[in-house]
């Protein structure tokens, strides 16, 4: 029974020794102190507003909330049992450290960032996971807890070939290929909380930004050409066949376009930009070249002299000493942990003086910097606060009313949390289920090619330096030959797959790069999950728009619970981990208690126990199945208190 607490201590140790030199600010004592500071500021709010201080939640509620917030799933029977049945005054803090050290944290955070960045499995629909160097970059950044400012700087400043090792951030731009201006207005919204989507086409009627402002910002990121751009056209001209798509090189050319050329950004920004043809105001002429100028935060300009590096300059401006960036980051993390942002909407910048507690806002921004934009440590602080432990406020709030301090609002689990919790009920430990696979193996027409001889990054490199169409064609001949001679050798493929999966410590798809299938965590499945999947029915974002995910109720969800996946996968599945409760308990009452642990993370109340023992449980398997089904159907199961 001590196992969790013991392993927890070691986990907590691991968490903080991950850095070679753990910074002073991130020591467990410092985090605790910071949490106390946050609580002090919140207490001030309660005092000045004469609000009643909410109660602190009981262990069961804390356990469930903390698992869902920290690791995106409910606890397993074992985890619940250990936590609930051990008396240790530090157990709440220990639980927080434990969860943030698990792969569940990575998975849950990854879902969040996938939503934010609208990450799609394929940027070009070719039946191949063309976005995965980008996905790998994000995956590893979250796993390694890359500081948020560094992460965003890498995205916004990305240049080169996405396939070059470690350079997947380029996918940030190929995600939005052909729409660099939309990409910019989205970036400004999600990272700095300023809305430019109106000013992209005209002076904004809803905020201060004029069209010229937007283009002055756009000058920094302009000129997103592919690397070695002219060569592709030249090759097609050189082949000189109007029906080239059907010719010898047709498939290969399309493949190279979609898998190699497409995933490159060959220019680091031009530092200036031409106003669009329909530019309609007096402060500029259509086609006029204008210089870059930042419109908030640090003043920065760019011009021709910055060609090749203006985007990096912009990325640095965005993430370095930028109050907008700091506030939005803080506001997001507060929402993630506390359930609602300091100010809504979460991605709208506010100066500290217009927030409910300027002192708290300023403190949080300072803390973020002290923690060097380490989001895990920052969330750790918030989860150690008393504020995090306040009981949920039972009243329904109107959206938009500041509510972040008076007990969290009751919210339905996110679609991913619902799924991951169900996977927990089936598999026991969902962190041990199949993971995404990575690697830069060449896939052509659905088969691995030239395994051990050539990789995607090499092809990318080769193509980047090619200037002669004749040489390009010769190179295609070479590839075609290599691809064809290898295609029969399935044994080698398999081996390559094995060694890759060993390297990544992964299971499931035998090394084929791409998402996992079946009973794996939401973060490991296709992004987004396919239409009709339970995750989509519960409101997962289609990852086309920002802020698109929803927790709205609909009838398909209820049918899933009553008759669908939940029935197949959990209730009628005799091997589901939730039924370990039957083995763990000796008496019927124990069995019921353990089923409660596994599903609702708490013991049943006396009233519930009496009712169940009287009317429901007769010792038969069916009666337990009925209980499991009913508990999963309760509102308590799908809501986060």
């Amino acid at each position: 029974m001590k196992s969790l607490i013991v392993s927890v201590f070691t986990m907590a140790g691991v968490l903080f020794s991950a850095d070679a030199k753990p910074s002073e600010a991130k020591s467990p004592e410092a985090l605790k102190k910071a949490a106390w500071q946050v609580d002090k500021h919140v207490a001030e709010i309660f005092k000045s507003k004469r609000l009643k201080v909410p109660q602190v939640v009981d262990d069961g509620t804390f356990l469930r909330r903390t698992f869902l917030v920290g690791a995106g799933r409910i606890p397993t029977l074992k985890e619940a049992q250990n936590f609930l049945e051990i008396q240790d005054e530090n157990k709440r803090a220990i639980l927080v450290s434990y969860l943030l050290g698990t792969d569940g944290y990575r998975s849950h955070m990854q879902n969040y960032i996938f939503d934010l960045l609208r990450i799609l499995e394929e940027t070009r629909g070719q039946g191949y996971y063309t976005a995965y160097p980008y996905i790998q970059f994000v995956y590893e950044a979250v796993k390694d807890n890359m500081p948020w400012d560094v992460f965003v700087r890498k995205l916004v400043g990305a240049t080169g070939n996405a396939w070059s090792p470690g350079n997947g951030a380029v996918g940030f731009y190929s995600r939005d290929k052909g729409m660099p201006l939309d990409n910019l207005s989205i970036s400004l919204q999600i990272f700095t909380g300023e809305r430019f989507e109106c000013a992209q086409c005209h002076d904004s009627p809803v905020n201060e930004w004029e069209r010229i402002d937007f283009f002055e910002m756009a000058a920094f990121i302009s000129g997103q050409k592919e690397m070695n751009q002219g060569i592709y056209r030249k090759v097609i001209d050189y082949i000189d066949d109007p029906d080239w798509r059907r010719g010898k090189y047709g498939d290969m050319l399309v493949w190279l376009r979609d898998n190699v050329h497409y995933h490159t950004v060959g220019n680091g920004g031009e530092g200036e930009i031409a106003l669009p043809r329909d530019y309609q105001y007096r402060d500029g002429k259509p086609g006029e070249l204008i210089r870059g100028k930042t419109k908030f935060g640090r003043r920065l300009s760019s011009g021709k002299r910055d060609a090749g590096k203006s985007r990096l300059k912009f990325a640095d401006w965005m993430t370095n000493e930028n109050d907008h960036f700091d506030y939005i980051t803080v506001n997001r993390m507060w929402e993630r942990v506390m359930g609602s942002p300091l100010t809504a909407p979460v991605d709208e910048y506010r100066v500290a003086s217009t927030t409910l507690s300027p002192a708290l806002t300023d403190y949080l921004k300072r803390l973020l910097k002290e923690l060097e934009y380490d989001l895990k440590a920052f969330q750790n602080v918030l989860m150690l606060t008393k504020t995090f432990q306040f009981a949920a406020n039972a009243k329904a709030f109107d959206a938009g009313v500041p509510q972040a301090f008076n007990g969290r609002q009751l919210e339905r689990m996110s679609a991913e949390q619902v799924w991951d919790s169900l996977v927990t009920l089936v598999t026991g430990n969902p962190d041990k289920t199949a993971k995404r696979q990575f690697g830069d193996i060449i896939y052509y027409r659905g088969k691995a090619r030239m395994v051990g001889q050539k990789t995607m990054s090499q092809v990318g490199q080769d193509i980047a330096s090619m200037s002669d169409p004749k040489a390009y064609v010769a190179y295609m001949d070479q590839l075609l030959e290599g691809f064809n001679s290898q295609s029969a050798s399935s044994e080698k493929e398999k081996n390559a797959g094995m060694s890759m999966s060993m390297g990544m410590n992964m299971m499931g798809r035998g090394g084929v790069p791409g998402p996992a299938k079946g009973l794996a965590r939401a973060s490991e499945l296709e992004s987004p999950a396919p239409a009709g999947h339970l995750i989509r029915e519960f409101g997962q974002s289609s990852r086309k728009l920002i802020n698109e995910s929803t927790t709205e109720a609909n009838i398909a969800q209820v049918l899933q619970i009553m008759n669908g996946h939940v029935e197949d996968m959990v209730v009628s599945n005799k091997g589901a981990a939730v039924y370990d409760a039957l083995k763990a308990g000796a008496t019927d009452a124990d069995k019921v208690r353990y089923i409660y642990y596994a599903i609702l993370s708490r013991p049943p109340s006396e009233k519930e126990m009496n009712m169940l023992m009287r009317d429901v449980i007769d010792g038969s398997r069916e009666s337990y199945q009925n209980l499991v089904s009913a508990l999963v159907s309760t509102h308590e199961f799908i809501f986060v208190q």
């Binding site: 290929k177 052909g178 729409m179 201006l181 939309d182 989507e197 109106c198 992209q200 086409c201 050409k225 043809r277 329909d278 909407p345 949920a392 039972a394 009243k395 329904a396 109107d398 938009g400 009751l410 919210e411 339905r412 396919p530 239409a531 009709g532 989509r536 728009l545 802020n547 698109e548 929803t550 927790t551 709205e552 109720a553 609909n554 009838i555 398909a556 209820v558 049918l559 009553m562 008759n563 669908g564 996946h565 197949d568 209730v571 009628s572 109340s605 519930e608 009712m611 009317d615 429901v616 069916e622 009925n626 209980l627 089904s629 009913a630 159907s633 309760t634 509102h635 308590e636 809501f639």
Partner: protein, 435 residues
């Protein structure tokens, strides 16, 4: 404003929750008002269409921003039109070569070439198209399907009134009972609508009863709209499971020959499903076709999308017509905005967002066929005559259905909302296009 009117509108919502938990799953119609429509006062009826009105809407959502110039608003200027040819139709106007089958049903449809909007971003544009309002942080507006169910009531009380194949299904502040049933795949129909094989009927009901008993305490502690929504959906789901019309959701019952007419893929099969749902009495079905965001490689991509739209839409119109359903079914092709007349060479001949002028199409439901309404200028850049806003389009939909588009329904917090949008942008129906 007539106070009693919106009091009544809220009362329906409230009375549903009064249902006794013990009775609710027994199939007794506990609340007779469920599914009944808002009764309109004489004054309200004055705003709406009299005589025979449409009863259903099939809303085809071209998600991503359908290029008007490459579909329904073709242009002479080469630098604007690019490589797309024009073709004649069964009416007296031309459309794009990408839509040969649609051209043959032009005599049954009205193209509006003067759609205009100020929302140039996808989310805002789609939201406006579906809900007549711009997104706000403080309220979720109901989408049109929910409005139609709320204002007209259900026709078949055992089936949902609103179904959405891949599109918007949000009831906003109306609450879950007016929400759409989201279907991921049309060919899978309404999944999980029958009891799982692993469950005995007796156990099924026992489980519902246990869950009900266990929910009591939670529900009394948290009386939030979201909790209530789930509460009512369980009732709704059980009622649905008992419906004898469930097979309407199963397109596999259609002969191969009919399925083939619509084409393959989710959109095509969704169009077919929509027709079956009309027959079964579903008020509003949305079918989404995504991928119109053709910043990059516009012509290849629009060509591909248009092909899917062309086959599905023309088959749907013909099928409804042959079955005598077209007169009572309004078919709408809508999109959040059009695309720029300018072709961006650097993006493999792409087109960017263009809300200032774009097109949509209406057919059936009392619409005059063979006509065009409104015009864009020579480049398809601005509206030249008879501008139609999203709110106007939605008001027109209301008008076709005999709904008063100006009727106010209050949110739970007492804020007034209308199907045709807020005061400043209040839409009015385009009545000229009705026969």
């Amino acid at each position: 404003m007539d106070q009693s009117k919106f009091l009544k509108a809220d009362e329906i919502g409230r009375r549903q929750f009064l249902a006794d938990a013990a009775l609710k799953y027994l199939g007794v119609t506990v609340v007779p008002m469920i599914g009944a429509s808002l009764t309109q006062s004489a004054a309200a009826q004055a705003h709406s269409r009299s005589g025979k009105t449409a009863e259903h809407v099939i809303f085809l959502n071209m998600d991503g921003g359908m290029s008007h110039i490459d579909t329904f608003d073709v242009k002479r200027k080469k630098e604007v039109q690019g490589p797309v040819e024009h073709i004649g139709t069964s009416a007296d106007y031309e459309i794009s070569e990408y839509l040969p089958e649609t051209a043959k049903v032009a005599d049954k449809m009205c193209v509006i070439n003067s759609m205009t909007s100020k929302q140039g971003a996808h989310r805002q544009g789609q939201y406006l198209l579906h809900r007549s309002y711009a997104p706000r942080g403080t309220i979720q507006h109901p989408s049109m399907g929910s409005w139609v169910v709320r204002m007209k009531g259900r026709k078949n009380t055992t089936l949902p009134g609103f179904v959405s194949v891949g599109g918007d299904a949000s009831p906003g502040f109306f609450g879950a009972e007016f929400g759409g049933v989201p279907l991921g795949r049309a060919d899978e129909g309404l999944k999980n609508s029958t009891m799982a094989h692993s469950v005995e009927a007796g156990d099924f009901h026992k489980r519902l009863a246990i869950a009900d008993a266990l929910n009591k305490e939670f529900n009394s502690r948290y009386r939030t709209p979201q909790v209530k929504a789930y509460e009512s959906l369980y009732e709704e789901a059980v009622k649905l499971m008992k419906s004898k019309d469930l097979k309407a959701f199963d397109i596999n019952e259609e002969p191969r020959s009919v399925r083939n007419k619509y084409g393959s893929g989710n959109f095509a099969q969704g169009c077919l499903l929509a027709r079956r749902l009309v027959e079964a009495g579903v008020r509003f079905t949305e079918v989404r076709l995504n991928g119109w965001d053709t910043h990059y490689n516009n012509f290849d991509n629009v060509g591909r999308k248009a092909k899917v739209l062309d086959k599905g839409f023309s088959a749907l119109v013909n099928d409804l017509d042959q079955r005598g359903l077209l007169e009572k079914t309004l078919v709408v092709i809508g999109t959040e905005f059009g695309r720029t007349p300018e072709i961006v060479e650097a993006h493999s001949m792409g087109r960017d967002h263009h809300p200032a002028a774009f097109s949509c199409v209406l057919a059936g439901g009392g619409i005059k066929g063979g006509m065009r309404y409104g015009k864009s200028d020579r480049d398809g850049n601005r509206v030249a005559s008879n501008p139609v806003t999203m709110q106007d389009l939605n008001a027109t939909m209301a008008y076709a259905l005999g709904i008063d588009h100006k009727q106010i329904v209050s949110s739970p917090s007492g804020r007034p909302f209308r199907m045709a949008g807020a005061d400043a942008e209040l839409g009015s129906p385009v009545t000229d296009i009705f026969a």
